[in-house]
Symmetry: C2
Subunit: 370 residues, 2 copies
Amino acid sequence: MALCYQATPPFKLNSASTNWSSRTPLSLRCNLSVPSPKTLAVEPQPVFTSVRSFAPATVANLGPGFDFLGCAVDGLGDYVSLRVDPHVHPGEISISDITGVGNSSKKLSKNPLWNCAGIAAISVMKMLSIRSVGLSLSLEKGLPLGSGLGSSAASAAAAAVAVNEIFGGLLSVSDLVLAGLESESKVSGYHADNVAPAIMGGFVLIRSYDPLELMRLKFPSEKDLFFVLVNPEFEAPTKKMRAALPQEITMSHHVWNCSQAGALVASVLQGDLEGLGKALSSDKIVEPRRAPLIPGMEAVKKAAIGAGAFGCTISGAGPTAVAITDNEDKGREIGDRMVEAFMDVGKLKAVASVRKLDRLGARLVSSIPR
Amino acid sequence: MALCYQATPPFKLNSASTNWSSRTPLSLRCNLSVPSPKTLAVEPQPVFTSVRSFAPATVANLGPGFDFLGCAVDGLGDYVSLRVDPHVHPGEISISDITGVGNSSKKLSKNPLWNCAGIAAISVMKMLSIRSVGLSLSLEKGLPLGSGLGSSAASAAAAAVAVNEIFGGLLSVSDLVLAGLESESKVSGYHADNVAPAIMGGFVLIRSYDPLELMRLKFPSEKDLFFVLVNPEFEAPTKKMRAALPQEITMSHHVWNCSQAGALVASVLQGDLEGLGKALSSDKIVEPRRAPLIPGMEAVKKAAIGAGAFGCTISGAGPTAVAITDNEDKGREIGDRMVEAFMDVGKLKAVASVRKLDRLGARLVSSIPR
C-alpha cells in the first residue's frame, strides 16, 4: 500500500449523507510509487459496535472510455455488515457469511485473503493500524458474479467503507480507492474504473495510476439519467474477452476513439444525454471485438437504439448490455426490446432493470453506536 | 460542397460583436455524405461595399487532442479586406494583394484557386449562389507560414467570414467551417482542428467528419488563460513530421492518451488550468516522435515547466512551442526561458508572445455600408 496525499483539502467519508457530488472539480492524487504503506500513528478505537454499508454496481468502459472511465448505478449493489467481534483475533477480520444472488455464496471464498471484501477490509485495517480489535464481516451480494457490473468492486468498496466508518471515518476517499484497488488487482486486474466510482459515486475518470489520480466528472444534478441494464444468462468468457482486445491500434481508430472519449466527457459534464449516448455507442476498438463473443449483443444494441435509447454498449467486459435514456418508463420499454433481442438472436434469457445514476457511491446505511 | 443541417437553431455570424462563446452546449452537424452543394435559392445582394475581417491563430492538437482538438488565440492572426469590385467578372473573386509577415507575399499564390483564402471565399460564394457580383480580396498575413499556428486556416476563416458578411451573414457557422475545410483539405490536409476554432473561437472538439460534428468546449468566462507561443526560426519539415507519426499504437498508449484527452476536455470545461496543463504535457504518442525533430523542443518544454507553466507541448505540427499559464507577466518570464532554451540547446533564434484565449473567432472588424 502506498503513501497518499490529496490535491484538495482532506476530505473524509464521515456519514452516509455526505454528498460528494456537490464538490467539484475534484482531483485526487495518491503516490503509488512510495513503497511504504500509509498507516495511522495512533490506532483509533471503534465508534460503532456494528455498521452496515452499501456500494453500488458500476458500469466501466462506457464505450470509448475503455479502461479509464466508469460510473455508479443506484439501487443495485452489495451490502456489508461489519461488527466488532471479541471472538476474532485482535487485528484480524473474519468473514462469517456470504449470501445473495446466484451462487455467490458457493463461489466466493470465506478466507478474507481470497475474498474481495476481505482484501479491501484488511487493507483499510492496515492503514488504520488496527491491532487490538477483531472484526466480523458478513457480505450480501446483490450483484451476480461476472456480470460486467463491477461485482467484485462493489464488495470491496462496501467493505472498505464499513471498516473505515466503524473506526470513525478517518481515511480519505483516495485511501479507500487504494484499498479497493488492492482488492481488484488480486481478483480481477489492476484497474480502478469500477472501484473508484463504486466508492465515489457518479462518473469517475482514472487519469493515472502512478500516482493514482482520479477526476470526478459531475453530471448536472438537475438532469435525469437512467441506465437500462440487461443481463443475459451467459457467462462471458473472461479470458476470451481479454484476448479479443487488439494489441495494436491504427492511428485513425485511435484518433476516433480519443475524440469520442473527449465528447463523452464533455457530454457528461454538460448533461447532454444525446451526446453521451452517441459517444457510448461509438467505440471502434473494443466493442467491435467483444460484441461478437456475446450472443445477440449486436442485435441488442440495435434494438435499444431502435427503441429510443440515446446509446448502448457493453457494460464492463460484459455480458450485461447497458443503454441510456432520460425517462424511466421509456427505459422499461427499451429494456423489453433488448431482452427480446437477446432471446430472438442470441437465444439467451435476459433480465432488464432500469437504474438511475448513483451520485453518492459507497455509504453507511445503518450503524449502532458503542 | 455539402448539404448542411444544424442540431441547434440556426445560428449565424451577424456581427463582429456576436459572442458565440455564451451559447453552450453547442453541437453542429453537417452531413458531408450528401453530394450536392448547399446553395441559396435566391442570390443575395451585398449589404456592404467593403468589409474587413480578422481570424485568429489557432493551436491544434493540444497534446493528447491530436487531430481533433484546437483552440483560438487572441491578437495574432490574418486580416482579409474584401470589396465589391465592378472590374471583377460577376460571380468571381480576384486577389489583389498579399502582404504581411515573412515572405508570405512571395510564397502565396494570387490565383484564388490556389490560395487558402481564395478557396474558402469561392466556396462561400458558391453556397450563397453569387453570380452577379465580383469581389476583390486583399490578404494581410499576421501569421508566418508553417509555424504550427494555423496560418492557412486563419486566412480561410477570415475570407469565409468576409464573403458571408458582405452579403448579409446568411450562412451558419457550420457552413463556414465546411468552406474552411474545403480550403484546408487542398492546402494542408482534411482536418478541421485549426479552421473550426479559427471560425468559432475558444476550444472546439471535432467529433466527426462524416457527418461533420463540432463541439464547442466553453472555457469559463471568469477565468484567465494565457498561451505562451514561442516560434523558432526553423522550418518544420512537414513531410518528416507526418512520417514521424506511428502507424500503430499500443493499447496501453491508446488508453493513456484517451484518458488524458478526457482529462483535457474536463479541465477546459471546468476551467482547471493545472489539469489542462498537465493534460497538454501528457501525450505519449505524437509529441515523443515529433519533438526530437525540432531542435531544442524537449529542453524548451522543460524550461517552460521549470519556469512555472502549467503545461507545454508542440503547437500543431510545430515548430512553435505552446505553454499555458494564468498570468500575463508570468507568461513573459516563461517565454524568456523558452527562448533561451531554444537558443542554448537547439541553437535557434526564437520569438515569444503571450496571448489570451480568443473566445470570438473570425469576425468583422470594419465595414462600409452600401
